[in-house]
C-alpha cells in the first residue's frame, strides 16, 4: 500500500451488468468496507477520475458511452474490469447483444473475477490498479527526458 500517497478518484459505469457487481462497488464505499479511508472517492465526472471501474460487458448501444468516458479521463488513467461479464462476457457471452469483455473497446489494466465480484476482490483490484497508475505516472514523467535523450543522439 506504499503507493497510496495520492487519493485516487474512481468513476463507475454500468455496462450491461445485472446490478450485482454494481451494488458491490457501492458496498465498497459504505461503512463495512469504506474505501474512503484510503482517500478513494466515487465521482460522477470523468475529468475528475483516475480509475475507471466498469461492470458488465459492452453492447452496440453503450460502446460509445464507454469510449467517451475513457477518452475524457485525464492521463494517467487505469481501467479496472469488475466481474466476469466485464472480463469476458461471462454467463451472457452467448447472448446476441453482447460483444464481449470491456477489453474489446478500451485497454484494461486489471481484471477482477467473480460473479458477482466480492467487495474484497474489488478493493484488491483497485489497489492493484493503483500500482499500475504509479507506473504510468512514472513513465509519463520519464517521457520528456527520454525524448530529450533521443534528440541529443540524433543531433550527435
Amino acid at each position: 500500500m506504499s503507493y497510496v500517497t495520492k487519493s485516487p478518484w474512481i468513476i463507475h459505469y454500468d455496462g450491461s451488468s445485472c446490478n450485482g457487481c454494481d451494488i458491490e462497488v457501492l458496498a465498497c464505499l459504505t461503512p463495512m468496507y469504506d474505501v474512503e479511508r484510503f482517500g478513494i472517492i466515487n465521482t460522477g465526472n470523468p475529468k475528475h477520475a483516475d480509475i475507471f471501474l466498469v461492470t458488465g460487458s459492452v453492447n452496440e448501444q453503450n460502446i460509445t458511452v464507454v469510449k467517451l468516458i475513457y477518452e475524457q479521463m485525464p492521463e494517467p488513467k487505469v481501467v479496472v474490469a469488475i466481474g466476469i461479464c466485464a472480463t469476458s462476457g461471462g454467463i451472457f457471452k452467448e447472448c446476441y447483444n453482447i460483444m464481449g469483455g470491456i477489453d474489446t473497446v478500451i485497454p484494461v489494466d486489471v481484471y477482477v473475477p467473480g460473479c458477482a465480484a466480492r467487495p474484497e476482490a474489488i478493493i484488491d483490484g483497485v489497489v492493484k490498479g493503483l500500482g499500475v497508475l504509479a507506473e504510468k505516472r512514472a513513465a509519463m514523467d520519464q517521457k520528456p527526458a527520454v525524448a530529450a535523450e533521443v534528440k541529443e543522439k540524433e543531433e550527435a
Partner: protein, 360 residues
C-alpha cells in the same frame, strides 16, 4: 412563456445510479416533457433459452437482476414446476418465502440509502447501507453468496437452514429493527428530508390505475395491490395487510417502503415459527412437457410476471419476464411532467428503477 430547451440526462450522470437516458424538455426550470430511451443494458438473455437446459437456465434467470435475484429464480422455477406438475415440499416453500422476504429487506434498505444520497444526506445513506450489510451477512451464512445466491432450483431449494441459524436470523433482524427505527424516524420527521419529498411527484390514484403502476408506486397512491395477497409461496399463512398510503407523492412512496421493511421482518419471524420439518427438494427428471405456464410474484419493486413455454424437450421453447420497473416507467414519465429540474433525480429514484431488470 420561457424558451424551450432539451437537456439530455444519462446514461452516465453523477446523480444517476442506473444507465437510462432521458431527454428532458424544459421551459425555464420546469420540465414540460420527458422522453425516456432505454437499451443500454439489453443483453437478450431470454434467447439463451435455446442454449441452456431448463435446469441450467435458473442461473441465467437469477442474473436478470442482482438486487432481486432470488425472486427471479423463484418465479422461473415456479413456472417450470407448474409445467411439469411438480409439487414441492412445504419446507422448501417456507425457505423460499424467507429468502424472498430477506431480499425485500435488503432491497428496500439499499433504496432508502440511494434516496438519502439523492437528496444529499450522505450520513443517512451510509447508515442505511451499514444496516444492509447485516442482511447480506445472513444471506452469506445461509446461501453462500452476497448478491447472487443460486439456491433456488427446479423442484425445491438447494440448501437447508437449521433451527439455530433460523433463530439467529430472527434475533439479528429484531436487533436491526431498533437501529432501523432511528433511521426511519429521520426519514419521517426530518425537516429537510420532508422538504425534498412531501408533495413532490404527485401521482393520483386514477393515473396510477390508468398507467398500470405496480408495487410500492401503486400502493403509495392508495391502491391495495400486492401479489402476495394471492397466496403464492406460503404468504396465505403469514396473514399480512399490504402497506397502503394515499398521498401519492415521494414521501408516501418512502413511507410504504419503510413500513414494508418492518412488515417483512415480522413475516420472516412468523415463517420461522411455522416452518415444518421435512424434505427441501424433490428429484426432477425428464423433459418439460408441451404447454404454457404463467406465474406472478411480488418483487420488492412490484409485480413481476413469468411465462414459460415447454416443447417436450430439455430446452424450453420460450420464456418471458415482465418486470416491475418496466410497468412503472410510464408513471414516472407522468410525474416528471411539470416538476422542477432539480427534483428529477428524486422522481426517478422513487420508482426504484432497476434498468437491468427492465431490459434484460
Amino acid at each position: 412563456m420561457g424558451k424551450r430547451t432539451i437537456i439530455p440526462f444519462g446514461p452516465q450522470h453523477p446523480v444517476l445510479p442506473e444507465p437510462v437516458h432521458l431527454d428532458l424538455v424544459i421551459e425555464d426550470e420546469k420540465v414540460v416533457e420527458a422522453i425516456p430511451s432505454i437499451g443500454f443494458i439489453h443483453r437478450g438473455l431470454e434467447k439463451l433459452v435455446e442454449k441452456k437446459e431448463y435446469t441450467e437456465l435458473v442461473y441465467v434467470i437469477e442474473r436478470i437482476c442482482g438486487i432481486c435475484s432470488f425472486g427471479h429464480g423463484w418465479g422461473y422455477c415456479h413456472t417450470v414446476e407448474g409445467l411439469m406438475g411438480i409439487e414441492i415440499p412445504e419446507r422448501a416453500e417456507y425457505l423460499r418465502t424467507i429468502w424472498h422476504e430477506l431480499s425485500r429487506v435488503h432491497s428496500h434498505l439499499l433504496w432508502l440509502g440511494l434516496l438519502a444520497d439523492g437528496f444529499g444526506f450522505e450520513s443517512l445513506f451510509m447508515h442505511c447501507w451499514r444496516l444492509r450489510e447485516r442482511v447480506l451477512d445472513l444471506f452469506e451464512k445461509t446461501t453462500g453468496g452476497r448478491v447472487i445466491f443460486s439456491v433456488c432450483k427446479v423442484g425445491g431449494v438447494r440448501k437447508d437452514i437449521d433451527k439455530e441459524t433460523l433463530d439467529e436470523m430472527v434475533s439479528v433482524l429484531r436487533g436491526m429493527e431498533k437501529e432501523l427505527k432511528e433511521l426511519t424516524e429521520t426519514f419521517i420527521n426530518d425537516y429537510s428530508v420532508k422538504n425534498r419529498l412531501v408533495g413532490v411527484g404527485y401521482l393520483s390514484k386514477e393515473d396510477a390505475i390508468e398507467l398500470c403502476a405496480v408495487g410500492p408506486m401503486a400502493r403509495a397512491s392508495g391502491i391495495r395491490q400486492d401479489i402476495r395477497l394471492t397466496g403464492n409461496g406460503v404468504y396465505d399463512k403469514l396473514e399480512f395487510e399490504p402497506c397502503v398510503e394515499t398521498a401519492g407523492d415521494c414521501y408516501a412512496r418512502t413511507l410504504v417502503r419503510m413500513r414494508e421493511v418492518y412488515q417483512s421482518i415480522d413475516m420472516i419471524a412468523k415463517a420461522v415459527e411455522l416452518i415444518p420439518d421435512g424434505e427441501i427438494s424433490v428429484p426432477v427428471k425428464g423433459n418439460v412437457p408441451k404447454g404454457e405456464f404463467m406465474a406472478r410474484l411480488e418483487q420488492p419493486r412490484g409485480e413481476a410476471f413469468y411465462y414459460s413455454k415447454g416443447a417436450d424437450s430439455k430446452f424450453l421453447e420460450r420464456i418471458r419476464v415482465r418486470t416491475p420497473t418496466n410497468m412503472n416507467i410510464p408513471a414516472m414519465v407522468k410525474t416528471l411532467q411539470g416538476c422542477d429540474l432539480a427534483d428529477v433525480p428524486m422522481l426517478i429514484l422513487t420508482i426504484d428503477p432497476c434498468i437491468s431488470c427492465t431490459e434484460r
